[in-house]
């Protein structure tokens, strides 16, 4: 375990940015997003949920997968194997870290998504343990510990004046070795402080849901009247899907100028009317009811059946951002029927 004084943080980030592309949470016009680190940016260490979740570093909203040019002779450039410069993410929250594991199940399962794997391998994740929850945080309902981030390469814990860094993978160890000379060895006192901070982080949750049995209950609910009622409020925007750290659906689009073009992969949302629109005009999900049902069935039934986990990490972004307050918290509560305190 290592540590660094907060006053030295920018020195550390500067060192890291020399080796790789470094992204940190930064507030701009009141919205916090991961942005490239620069000497003069102020790193936001307090905001829990950045607006666009860090899944975008492995699964970008828009990426060209191939480019062609037929103006002379046919040339095709394949991007899949070129993806992924060396990247470091600093300040990823534990909920978002655990979302990476879910994305891995999809993109590293058979067939492996080469570009995704490349990015994943070339990226070192430095997680930042949470100190206290937002009112919409409910990660503990999914058995996540807000102070720990098992999937991260390095776990950073804010202990007040200092940040304690512990490597959790070989990639993380290598990264800390790079920083030798700048960071110090943590003492046993620091280790205790980290433990205290991790315990402390579990306090203060005001939102929780009981996810027990929700998947099983949904098995028989495909034709339930519940969806007829639920979808009415949905205005069919894609906010929930785009701010969700575990949503991973995409669309392939062709961009063409006649002689040149690109094939582009971009995020898609099951809330959109053209999401399942077929070439011949039929749409198997003709109304918002089927679309809303799809989103929640996917997260709470199909995904756990297929991969063993609910596709939700309890970050609370959709709870905060949904313009009509239709969110997964409500669905879990209403379906599970056994809600925790609110």
């Amino acid at each position: 375990m290592k540590k660094i004084a907060k006053s030295q943080l920018s020195k550390m980030l500067s060192m890291l940015s020399a080796e790789a592309k470094l992204y940190v949470p930064v507030a701009s016009d009141g919205v916090v997003n991961f942005a490239p680190w620069q000497e003069d940016v102020e790193v936001d260490l307090t905001t829990i949920n950045v607006f666009v979740p860090p899944k975008k570093f492995f699964f970008p909203q828009t990426e060209a997968v191939l480019r062609y040019d037929i103006s002379d002779e046919l040339e095709i450039e394949d991007f899949a194997c070129k993806a992924g410069d060396k990247t470091i993410l600093f300040g990823v929250r534990p909920c978002d870290v655990s979302s990476f594991a879910m994305m891995d199940k999809v993109y590293l399962g058979d067939p492996v998504d080469i570009a995704y794997r490349q990015r994943r391998e070339n990226t070192t994740v430095i997680a930042m343990g949470c100190k206290s929850p937002d009112e919409t945080c409910f990660c503990t309902s999914f058995d996540l510990e807000p102070g720990k981030a098992p999937g991260a390469d390095v776990l950073a814990t804010d202990t007040g004046e200092e940040i304690v860094l512990s490597a959790q993978t070989t990639k993380g160890e290598e990264l800390l070795t790079q920083l030798n000379g700048l960071i110090q060895e943590a003492t046993s006192g620091d280790e205790n402080k980290v433990k205290d901070a991790q315990e402390q982080a579990k306090e203060g949750y005001t939102t929780s849901v009981n996810v027990q049995g929700v998947m099983e209950k949904l098995d028989g609910m495909f034709e339930d009247f519940y969806w007829d009622r639920l979808h009415k409020r949905c205005i069919a925007c894609g906010t929930c899907t785009f701010v969700c750290p575990t949503c991973h659906c995409f669309d392939m689009q062709e961009y063409s100028t006649g002689s040149r073009g690109e094939r582009i992969r971009c995020w898609d949302s099951c809330m959109y009317s053209d999401f399942t629109l077929m070439g011949h005009g039929h749409n198997p999900r003709p109304t918002q009811k089927e679309r809303v049902r799809q989103r929640f069935m996917h997260k709470l039934n199909y995904f756990p059946h297929q991969h063993g986990d609910y596709a939700c990490v309890g970050c609370g972004r959709c709870v905060r951002k949904c313009p009509v307050n239709l969110d997964i918290l409500e669905v879990i509560q209403e379906i599970g029927g056994a809600a925790g305190g609110m």
Binding site: A64, Y255, T257, R260, E262
Partner: protein
């Protein structure tokens, strides 16, 4: 698409009304007046046929300037189309400027079927202006 700055020849898309401005272009041609080859004409039935999306899409796909040319007010083949053109593109033009797009890039002119010389003149003038501005980067697709 990459833009070669050294030898940049601007691309200008001109939406010309079939009844006046396109005839004006024809007259310019038959009168052997020359105007730059940078201009590509798209013939439309009326200047009010031009959907704002056409303009933005033209910029996206590589146009450095867009011109809409229609009949003079009062001369519309369909009686009132160009009056709508005038209202619409007055506000669209101002909005593009407001968002930081150079005003020269998007222009509207009235050119009648008998104004071959004016057509050639306007094309020369606009090409000069756009050349001076250089390539459009702001609305262009970065691909």
């Amino acid at each position: 698409m990459s833009v070669n700055l050294e030898s940049h020849e601007p691309l200008i898309v001109a939406f010309c009304c079939n009844w006046c401005s396109y005839a004006g272009a024809d007259l310019a041609g038959t009168s052997r007046m020359s105007y730059p080859t940078n201009v590509r004409i798209v013939r439309v039935p009326c200047s009010s046929r031009v959907n704002p999306s056409f303009i933005i899409r033209a910029f996206q796909r590589g146009a450095d300037g867009v011109l809409i040319a229609g009949c003079h007010p009062g001369d519309c083949h369909y009686h009132s189309g160009n009056y709508y053109t005038r209202r619409r593109f007055t506000v669209l033009k101002r909005m593009l400027e407001y968002m930081g797009i150079e005003p020269e890039r998007f222009q509207v002119r009235w050119i009648s079927g008998s104004e071959g010389a004016k057509f050639a003149g306007v094309m020369n003038e606009i090409t000069q202006e756009i050349k001076a501005l250089g390539p459009n980067r702001k609305l262009r697709d970065v691909r």
